[in-house]
């Protein structure tokens, strides 16, 4: 128990300390984690921690990341990307495999080993690259999109690779390895939770497809994929509606985790890549109203697991081997990166990726990736590569990943600035107004939404009620399910870019708290908040809401005006009286709101109490009909000049 706590503490503390420092130095979080791993590797060695098995556990972060990537990708978008996906991705993998294979054969390897090496090294690091794209906001750029296409293709390509590698097995290796396979850390069968799967059809562990004929396997596999797609479409909504009964945050998180883990498990059982399965599920759910909820539930786990993964990469570097073969390793790594970068540069010309995007695309994908680790252990277990070569390649992969942040730094500092002037003008075009977020879509928020939409504004609706949202969906509205007061959900809804937030959720305290949070962390957002009563108005004002609307005030005033009309007032007189009433009431509200201080208990706030007393007396006078200042104000206007006025003017003009 204490061991687990200690290891957990070491890992977390290393991340907590190194990532902020790395960010501060402009190195990015990935390099921070890698450095943290290198620093703690002696400590881990002392405690005999099995870094490799932790790494396999942490690879689940990649599965979660692909789920999140899928959530961001609508099927329509994926279809429109198909040319780049197949063209860019296919050519990158194909060319890189061929060139690396050629180099390996020149260096004296047999063709089967050379091909395996090519396959291992052709893949790039989805974890590092996507994380960095997101951090630097490069995801939407042309280079980022191209890079994403390649990474996505690679993730899919892992599956046929896993099928191909056993066919390359060397008989003499198979013999030598069969003895110690069970206890070997690289043995495929020992990693039941291996995120990139592939070990399903091979060795121990649970499997649904073991011992089945080829066509039966295919059928089961297709069935599993169908189950994920169908489940995503049909089951998500009833499931979340059921979970909503509990109205507890952690149950939502658990539900989201159950979904992702369950899909990963199912994929592993049928021998498919769990990353691909969750990616598929993400795409299926990209259009659903639960997208934001799922995103914000999974996000922290993904971040932590990826961080852990990077730490283990750093910690897993075999420094003895490295120092023994330093120059060879360095030469191999740089050579590999040059080959990959060169292939990508050629592709960027073919696919019209220009300017700084070309370099972003080529540099960012020049490393080998975490899929390489997976394939390496798989190749060793399948007797494709001798362990010595695999260990050497492991260093190359790790080192190239370690160097990736440096490539991004080269891009940021040397390349991007050169293209800034050229591209400066394009940036101006992004003048689209931020979205309007409506938190709470009941009787109040619903009307606000209708009005804004009728006027052509795009709104994002957050609500806790499944039935409400389902009704809205039928009208073709974009709605999202979740607790609107949660900062992470607001973040997912795009509060950073939002222009207006309408707070129409139930309850005084949640409303005030939400206003306080958003006003503090996102001061650019104009907040329109619903207040239940006067005191709530004061609280919301202190919390930073710009427009505060009392939920029943306007309708009450209208009822009063209707009563005045019914009593025989001319409608315009009634209107003027109503306006004057609103004006006076508002003036009082504002002056009291200025005195209200949420940090002082109202009873101890003397200025506030005095003002309230003053107004209480006034409104009492009004109730008893003794207040004539009101009627005097209403009466002003359109009073004709008196005959005396006229006489005076006449006299003046004559003199």
């Amino acid at each position: 128990m204490s061991d687990i706590l200690l290891i957990t503490f070491v890992f977390l503390a290393a991340g907590v300390l190194s990532v902020p420092i790395a960010s501060k130095l402009g190195l990015g979080s990935v390099l921070g984690y890698l450095i943290a791993g290198i620093i703690i590797s002696p400590i881990l060695a002392v405690f005999g921690v099995d870094v490799v098995s932790i790494q396999h556990f942490a690879e689940f972060g990649v599965v979660m990341m692909l789920f999140l990537v899928g959530l961001e990708l609508e099927p329509r978008l994926l279809w429109s990307m198909r040319m780049r996906l197949l063209g860019l991705g296919g050519l990158q993998v194909g060319l890189t495999v061929l060139i690396v294979m050629g180099v390996a054969m020149v260096l004296g390897q047999t063709w089967s080993i050379a091909l395996a090496v090519g396959l291992v090294l052709a893949l790039s690091s989805t974890a590092i690259v996507l994380q960095t794209y997101n951090e630097k906001g490069l995801m939407k750029s042309d280079g980022g999109q191209g890079g994403f296409s390649v990474l996505l293709f690679q993730d899919i390509a892992v599956i046929p690779m896993l099928a191909l590698i056993p066919l390359l097995a060397l008989p003499e290796l198979a013999e030598s390895i069969s003895h110690g396979a069970a206890g070997d850390g690289h043995g495929g069968g020992t990693h039941g939770g291996d995120s990139h799967g592939g070990d399903g059809g091979h060795g121990s562990g649970l499997s649904l497809v073991d011992g089945l004929e080829g066509w039966q396997q295919a059928l089961v596999t297709l069935g599993a994929i169908g189950a994920v797609v169908l489940g995503g479409v049909v089951l998500t909504r009833p499931m979340f509606r059921f979970v909503a009964i509990a109205r507890m945050r952690e149950i939502f998180v658990a539900t989201a985790l159950v979904m992702v883990v369950g899909i990963a498990l199912l994929m592993t059982l049928v021998g498919l890549s769990p990353a691909l399965g969750t990616f598929l599920a993400g795409v299926v759910l990209a259009n659903s109203e639960y997208r934001h909820e799922l995103e914000s539930d999974i996000e922290p786990f993904k971040g932590l697991l990826l961080g852990l993964f990077f730490i283990t990469v750093g910690a897993g570097i075999n420094f003895e081997l490295l120092s023994a073969n330093l120059w060879v390793t360095l030469a191999l790594t740089l050579g590999l990166m040059a080959i990959k970068c060169g292939v990508l540069l050629i592709l960027s010309f073919l696919f019209g990726i220009n300017g700084s995007d070309r370099w972003l695309f080529s540099l960012s994908l020049a490393q080998a990736g975490e899929f390489g680790f997976v394939l390496l252990s798989f190749t060793v277990a399948n007797s494709v590569l001798p362990a010595a070569i695999a260990d050497q390649l492991l260093l190359v992969v790790a080192l190239s990943m370690l160097l990736t942040p440096a490539l991004f730094i080269i891009y940021d500092k040397l390349i991007a600035p050169r293209f800034v002037e050229e591209e400066g003008r394009e940036a101006d075009e992004i003048s689209e107004k931020g979205p309007i977020i409506i938190a709470g879509h009941g009787r109040f928020g619903g009307i606000v939404n209708r009005m804004l939409r009728e006027n052509g504004h795009k709104t994002t609706v957050l609500d806790y009620s499944s039935s409400q949202l389902e009704m809205l969906r039928q009208f073709g509205l974009t709605v999202f399910y979740g607790d609107a007061t949660r900062p992470d959900l607001l973040h997912a809804a795009g509060i950073e870019a939002a222009s207006v937030l309408i707070v129409a959720i139930d309850g005084k305290e949640p409303t005030t708290e939400m206003v306080r949070q958003v006003a503090k962390h996102h001061p650019h957002v104009h907040i329109v908040a619903r207040a239940t009563d006067r005191t709530h108005v004061y609280e919301l004002y202190a919390a930073g809401a710009k427009d505060i609307i009392r939920e029943t005030f306007d309708s009450s005033v209208r009822a009063g005006r209707s009563a005045l009309e019914a009593l025989g007032d001319h409608p315009y007189d009634a209107e003027r009286k109503a306006r004057e009433f609103v004006r006076g009431d508002r003036a009082r509200l504002v002056s009291v709101a200025h005195l209200y201080d949420p940090d002082i208990p109202p009873l101890e706030n003397t200025a506030y109490i005095e003002k309230l007393k003053e107004y209480a007396a006034e409104s009492q006078a009004a109730l008893t009909g003794r207040n004539n200042s009101f009627t005097m104000r209403v009466d002003r206007g359109w009073s004709p000049p008196t005959p005396e006025d006229v006489a005076e003017i006449e006299a003046q003009s004559k003199s």
Binding site: H570, P571, Y572, D573, A574, E575, G637, W638, S639, P640, P641, T642, P643, V646, I649, E650, Q652, S653, K654
Partner: protein, 202 residues
């Protein structure tokens, strides 16, 4: 029979000495339409389609109001701004009001002699009404001389309200019955109770 539409506008209805009585009496006359603009649109949300439909149904449009600061109360300006649309009242294809008549019935606090180059208002009353006159012309409408009560504040004390209201009713009935001589008014600056040009009935 000419179809007459009266637009009555007084924002402080309860302070009115003359216009209120005029409007009340006008309502008792059959075969005409009368609209209290401030009553119908207390929040100034004028329904353009409804107003244009009204205009199409009538031949003579009469604005009845006090004179405020050398013009009408503001809702009449709002009404003009919104209802007399391009393509309806003026401009290409904007001929829907062509041939109709616009008229005003005004009460002014100042005495008649004040509305002259030598008086303290410095201009004849018609000078202040030129925006309305030109509005009518642009819509290809006839602008009839206005029916005016001067010294309206003294009118109650001098028993001048009753004859003015009676003249107003006679004017309305004459327009309704096609007995009013619009042509004759083109020669006149303003009309008063005693100078109404009636054509002797057929």
């Amino acid at each position: 029979m000419a179809n007459l539409l009266i637009y009555y506008a007084h924002p402080g209805a309860h302070k009115s000495h003359v216009n209120k009585v005029m409007a009340r009496m006008a309502r008792t006359i059959d075969g005409i339409s009368i609209v209290d603009l401030y009553q119908e649109y207390p929040r100034f949300d004028i329904d353009v389609d409804r107003e244009q439909a009204r205009l199409l149904e009538h031949d003579v449009i009469l604005f009845q109001s006090p004179l405020f600061w050398y013009s009408t109360p503001s809702i009449i300006k709002e009404w003009i701004d919104l209802v007399l649309e391009h393509g309806f009242a003026y401009g290409s294809h904007g001929d829907k009001l062509s041939g109709k008549t616009m008229m005003m019935a005004l009460s002014a606090a100042g005495p008649e002699e004040a509305y002259s180059s030598g008086g303290y208002q410095h201009f004849p009353l018609r000078t202040f009404l030129t925006p309305f006159e030109q509005t009518a012309r642009l819509c290809n409408m006839r602008f009839a001389a206005p029916y005016v009560l001067y010294s309206s504040l003294r009118a109650p004390g001098q028993n001048l309200v009753e004859p003015h209201v009676a003249g107003y009713c006679a004017l309305i009935e004459a327009i309704r019955d096609d007995r009013f001589d619009f042509e004759a008014t083109t020669e006149m600056d303003v009309l008063q109770a005693e100078t109404l040009p009636m054509s002797k009935g057929e």
